[in-house]
C-alpha cells in the first residue's frame, strides 16, 4: 500500500508515520533541529522554545518537538525568523543564570554552549541575573548548581517518567521557579535514590557528579563501552577514561537499559583503582603472606594439586568459579577442572 501523505522540510518531501512529530521526521532524515528540553521517551513539554520551526500558513513559529507532522506541511528549520527567535531564546537562557563556561564542568558537553556557538550568541546582551538559590552539595553524589539551571525540566522527566523515582518536580512560580524535592529539602532527605538519571539528562552544567570539579572534562577522556559488573540486568555503560583511571560512568542509550543506570553502576567504580587491590601473587609462609612471582606461585599450586590428585584422587579437589567473571573465564575454569584436574567438582555461587 502506498502512503501518499508527506511533509516538506526545507524544500524536500518526506513520508512520515502517524505518530511522528516534525522533529522526529527531521531527525530520521538527518535534518538538524536543535533541542534542549526534549527528552527521548517522554511526553514533550515544549518548555524551552529552542526547537521552533516555521510552518507555512501558521500564525507563529511552532515547537517541532511537540507538533505532530501533518500531510502537506511545509516546514523551514533555519529561516531568518527561526534564527532570530532562536538567538533571542538562547540569549535569554544565557542571561538567566551564571553561565561561566571557563569554570563549568559541563564545558564541551553542554547543549546551551553548543547552541550559543552555532548561533553566535555571546551572552552579554542581557545582564546575568544573580543566583537566587545557593548550590546544594550536602549529599554524597550530586551537586545541584541552580545558577546554571535553565529550567528545561529534563531532570524532572528523567526522575518521574523514566526512572519513576518521583523525587523532584518543578516548584515555585515565575522568576522563583526551581527544581525541588518534596518540601524543597535537600536530595539526601528526599525520595532520591541517586540513580543519577537526572545528571545524564541535564543539558547544561546544573547537575553533575560530586567529584566532577576535580576530574577531566568532556573531550579529555576516552569512552569505552562495556557491561556493568554488578547485577544481572547487564546495563550498557561508557567508562570515561583518562590517565589509566575511570573518571566517570554514563549509561548507553541501548537495550537493556536505554541510558539508565543505578547508583552502583554509575557511582560505584572506585574499587577499580583502589589501593587495596591485589597486585602480586602471595604465598603464605609461616602464617604470613609473602610476595611471590607468578612462576613461584603457580609452580607451588601446580605441585600441590598434582600431589593431592595422586594421593587422594581427582575428586578430592574442588573449584569454585564465579558469577562475577566473564564467560570466557568460566569456560576456561570448567575446562581446566574437567580436562586437567579430571573432576566435575566445579560450581559457583548462583545458588546464593
Amino acid at each position: 500500500m502506498k502512503n501518499n501523505k508527506s511533509i516538506t522540510i526545507n524544500g524536500n518531501q518526506f513520508s512520515f508515520r502517524p505518530e511522528d512529530t516534525i522533529l522526529e521526521v527531521a531527525q530520521r532524515n538527518g535534518i538538524f533541529i536543535p533541542t534542549l528540553c526534549h527528552l527521548k521517551g517522554t511526553t514533550p513539554t515544549g518548555a524551552c522554545r529552542v526547537c521552533m520551526v516555521e510552518v507555512k500558513g501558521a500564525r507563529s513559529l511552532v515547537a517541532s518537538c511537540a507538533a505532530p507532522a501533518m500531510d502537506g506541511m511545509d516546514v523551514q528549520t533555519e529561516s531568518s525568523d527561526v534564527i532570530r527567535s532562536r538567538k533571542l531564546t538562547i540569549s535569554l537562557l544565557l542571561s538567566s543564570g551564571h553561565h561561566d563556561c571557563l569554570l563549568c564542568p559541563a564545558t564541551g558537553d553542554c547543549v546551551l554552549q553548543q547552541l550559543a556557538y552555532r548561533y553566535k550568541v555571546s551572552g552579554t546582551q542581557f545582564e546575568a541575573s544573580n543566583a537566587r538559590y545557593p548550590l546544594e552539595n550536602v549529599n554524597p553524589f550530586i551537586i545541584r548548581d541552580f545558577s546554571k539551571c535553565v529550567l528545561c525540566g529534563r531532570c524532572v522527566q528523567a526522575c518521574n517518567d523514566i526512572q519513576v523515582n518521583n523525587a523532584i518536580d518543578l516548584g515555585y512560580r515565575g522568576s522563583a521557579a526551581k527544581v525541588v524535592t518534596a518540601g524543597d529539602r535537600s536530595l539526601k532527605d528526599s525520595d532520591c535514590v541517586f540513580c543519577g538519571e537526572c545528571i545524564q539528562a541535564c543539558p547544561v552544567g546544573a547537575l553533575y557528579p560530586k567529584d566532577a570539579l576535580n576530574k577531566p572534562r568532556y573531550g579529555e577522556t576516552q569512552k569505552i563501552r562495556t557491561t556493568c559488573s554488578y547485577c544481572g540486568v547487564g546495563c550498557q555503560m561508557h567508562l570515561h577514561v583518562k590517565d589509566n583511571l575511570v573518571q566517570k560512568v554514563t549509561g548507553v542509550d541501548t537495550a537493556p537499559n536505554n541510558g539508565s543506570l543505578c547508583v552502583k553502576g554509575r557511582f560505584g567504580y572506585d574499587f577499580i583503582a583502589s589501593k587495596d587491590r591485589l597486585t602480586t601473587p602471595l604465598i603464605r609462609k609461616k602464617g604470613k603472606f609473602c610476595d611471590a612471582s607468578w612462576d613461584e606461585a603457580l609452580t607451588l599450586v601446580a605441585k600441590k594439586f598434582t600431589q593431592i590428585q595422586k594421593k587422594h584422587g581427582s575428586d578430592s579437589i574442588g573449584v569454585l568459579t564465579s558469577a562475577r567473571i566473564t564467560n570466557e573465564d568460566n569456560y576456561i575454569a570448567q575446562k581446566f577442572t574437567r580436562a586437567i584436574l579430571k573432576t566435575n567438582n566445579i560450581d559457583h555461587c548462583a545458588r546464593l
Partner: protein, 531 residues
C-alpha cells in the same frame, strides 16, 4: 528469563514475587514502574516485606516466609475452579493437567489462609487479576529460590504461567532476576557440577566423547561433581582436600559461616583468586591477583540471556592477570599447556562446543543484540523462549505439595529473620564499600524491625542489639522500618563485621542445593552495657 526485559512494559499484569526490585535490580524496577504509571499494567507484589514497589501495586500479599508453594497452589486452585484458565493452550501445548488438578484440590482459599496468612478474599482477587489479563508476566528473585523448597517454588510458578497460557508470548513468561552480573553466563559455560557448556550433561557418553575430541583429552569424568554447598562440608569431613576459589567470598556469602570457616581450616591447600584480599582469601595458602571487569575483554550474559561485551578500559594493577590467563598458565605448569591468544579465541571455542551459543561471535556482538539460543550465524537469537514448543515438546504440569519449612520460630527464637540486599551495596561489599558515597548512604549493618516488635523486646530505634540464632550471634543497629512487618525481621548480608550468615541455616533444597537463607528463627537481646 523466558522473556526479555523490554517485555515488562508489554504486560497487562505483573506479578513480582520475592524480589525487592527497586533495590536489587533498580533498572528493571523502572520498567515495572513505567508499566504501571504509563501503560496501565496492574502490579501484584507478593513479599513478606512492605517493599517500595508496594507503593505502585494494585495488591500486596504478605505470605508467611517459607509458604510459597501453598499460595501458588491456592491461586491455581481458584483459577481452575473458576474456569479462568487457558483451555486451548493447555490442550495444545501441555500434558499432565489432570495431575495438577488433583494436586491442588486441597488448596482451598481457606486452607491456604491457614498456612500462609493470606486472606482468602485477597487470594481470590489476585487469582482473577492474573488469569483475566493477558499477557501477564511473573518476575521472581532469591525470595523464591532461597528456601529448602526453592525448586518446588519455581516449578509451581511454571504451572501457574502455563495454566494461563502466559508462556511463549510477548509480555508473558516466568522470569528469574539474577542477582549477580554473570550468574547466567557461569551456568551457561558449565560452571556447574553436572553439565558442560549449554547444559550438556556430563553423564551422557556421546556428549563426553564429542567434548573429549574437541579438547583433545581422554578420560573425562562422567560422575557429576559436588555443588558449592556440598564441597564445603565435604572439606570439613576430609573428602575434599583442596579448593581453588575464584572471585567468591563464601566466608561472608555462605550460610552458617562459622561452620564454613571450620571446613576451610580442614583443607590441605586453599587457593584464592580475587581482586581483593577478601575474608576468604585471608585463609588461603596462595592468593592469585586477578583483573576486574574494567581491565579485561570478554562477555557477560545477562538475566535475559543476552550475551554482551566487556571491554578493557584501563590497565591491570601490578602483576594482576585475567582469570583465564592465570588458569591457562597454571595448566601449563601442570604439564598441559592451554594456550589462547585472546578472549575472542575462547569465544570461538565456546561457540564450537555449545549448540545454544553456536551463532554468537564478537563480530556480531558489535552490532547485534543476541539472546541465546542462537544456533547458527544467521540466527537472530531468541528473546522469547518456548514460542512454539518446549524443550521436551510439551510443557509438563507438576503436581507439587506444600512442605512446611523446618526452620520454625519457638519460645526461645520467636522471630523470623530474612536476609537480602540493599540498594547501595553489592554481595559481600568488597567492591561497593570502596566508594565513600555508597558507605555514607549505607554505612553499617542494621536489622529492620517494626516499632511494635521492638516494643515487645524493649528495643529503641538506632540501638545496637544482639541477634542470636541456633547457629551463632551478631550485633547490628535496630532500625524501625515501614518495610518490616510484625514477627519478621530483615538483615542485609553484605557486612562482614555483622555477617547475617552467621545466623542462617545450611539446610539445602534437595534438588537445587540452595541453602535456606531466607528463613531463620532468631531472638533479639539488648546489649548490656557495664557501667
Amino acid at each position: 528469563m523466558t522473556n526479555p526485559i523490554v517485555d515488562i512494559e508489554k504486560a497487562k499484569v505483573i506479578l513480582v514475587i520475592g524480589s525487592n526490585t527497586t533495590e536489587n535490580h533498580p533498572v528493571i524496577s523502572s520498567y515495572i514502574k513505567r508499566a504501571v504509571k504509563f501503560k496501565g499494567a496492574k502490579l501484584i507484589v507478593i513479599d513478606p516485606r512492605k517493599i517500595k514497589l508496594t507503593l505502585f501495586s494494585e495488591k500486596w500479599l504478605r505470605p508467611l516466609p517459607g509458604t510459597n508453594v501453598a499460595w501458588i497452589n491456592g491461586l491455581i486452585h481458584v483459577i481452575i475452579k473458576e474456569k479462568l484458565f487457558d483451555a486451548e493452550f493447555i490442550k495444545k501445548r501441555t500434558i499432565d493437567f489432570d495431575k495438577l488438578e488433583k494436586s491442588i484440590e486441597k488448596f482451598t482459599p481457606d486452607y491456604v489462609e491457614s498456612i500462609t496468612g493470606i486472606k482468602k478474599e485477597d487470594l481470590i482477587e489476585v487469582a482473577r487479576l492474573y488469569a483475566q489479563a493477558k499477557p501477564g508476566t511473573i518476575l521472581y528473585c532469591m525470595g523464591i529460590t532461597q528456601h529448602t523448597s526453592g525448586t518446588d517454588n519455581v516449578k509451581s510458578l511454571a504451572n501457574l504461567a502455563m495454566l494461563c497460557g502466559n508462556l511463549g508470548i510477548e509480555g508473558g513468561g516466568v522470569n528469574p532476576l539474577r542477582g549477580q552480573n554473570n550468574v547466567q553466563g557461569a551456568c551457561d559455560m558449565g560452571g556447574l557440577p553436572n553439565v558442560f557448556t549449554g547444559y550438556q550433561a556430563v553423564t551422557d557418553p556421546n556428549i563426553k566423547t564429542r567434548i573429549e575430541k574437541t579438547w583433545n583429552v581422554k578420560g573425562l569424568s562422567i560422575k557429576p561433581g559436588l555443588t558449592a554447598t556440598e564441597m564445603i562440608p565435604a572439606a570439613g569431613e576430609g573428602h575434599i582436600k583442596s579448593l581453588y576459589i575464584m572471585g567468591e567470598n563464601p566466608l561472608v556469602s555462605d550460610p552458617d559461616i562459622t561452620h564454613v570457616e571450620k571446613c576451610f581450616k580442614a583443607l590441605d591447600f586453599l587457593v584464592v583468586q580475587d581482586i581483593f584480599i577478601t575474608e576468604t582469601a585471608q585463609m588461603a595458602d596462595v592468593i592469585l591477583p586477578a583483573t576486574c571487569f574494567a581491565e579485561k575483554e570478554g562477555t557477560f550474559t545477562n538475566t535475559e540471556r543476552r550475551v554482551q561485551r566487556v571491554r578493557k578500559a584501563v590497565h591491570a594493577p601490578g602483576k594482576a592477570l585475567g582469570d583465564w590467563e592465570i588458569i591457562c598458565r597454571l595448566s601449563t605448569h601442570m604439564g598441559v599447556p592451554l594456550t589462547y591468544q585472546n578472549s575472542r579465541e575462547i569465544m570461538d571455542e565456546i561457540a564450537m562446543v555449545t549448540p545454544s551459543y553456536r551463532g554468537i561471535t564478537y563480530e556480531r556482538l558489535e552490532t547485534e543484540n543476541l539472546h541465546w539460543p542462537c544456533p547458527d550465524l544467521k540466527h537472530p537469537g531468541t528473546p522469547v523462549l518456548h514460542k512454539d514448543t518446549f524443550p521436551h515438546g510439551k510443557g509438563v504440569f507438576h503436581g507439587i505439595d506444600y512442605i512446611p519449612s523446618t526452620e520454625k520460630t519457638n519460645k526461645t527464637y520467636p522471630l523470623l529473620l530474612t536476609t537480602g540486599r540493599v540498594l547501595y551495596h553489592y554481595h559481600t561489599g568488597t567492591m561497593t564499600m570502596q566508594t565513600q558515597g555508597l558507605n555514607e548512604m549505607s554505612p553499617e549493618c542494621f536489622i529492620e524491625i517494626t516499632p511494635e516488635d521492638a516494643g515487645t523486646y524493649n528495643i529503641m530505634d538506632g540501638e545496637m542489639i544482639q541477634i542470636t540464632s541456633k547457629r551463632g550471634s551478631v550485633q547490628a543497629i535496630a532500625k524501625f522500618s515501614p518495610k518490616a512487618v510484625n514477627g519478621t525481621v530483615f538483615m542485609p548480608f553484605h557486612f562482614a563485621k555483622a555477617a547475617a550468615n552467621k545466623l542462617t541455616s545450611t539446610k539445602l533444597d534437595p534438588v537445587s542445593k540452595i541453602p535456606e537463607l531466607k528463613v531463620c528463627a532468631v531472638k533479639l537481646n539488648r546489649i548490656k552495657i557495664d557501667a
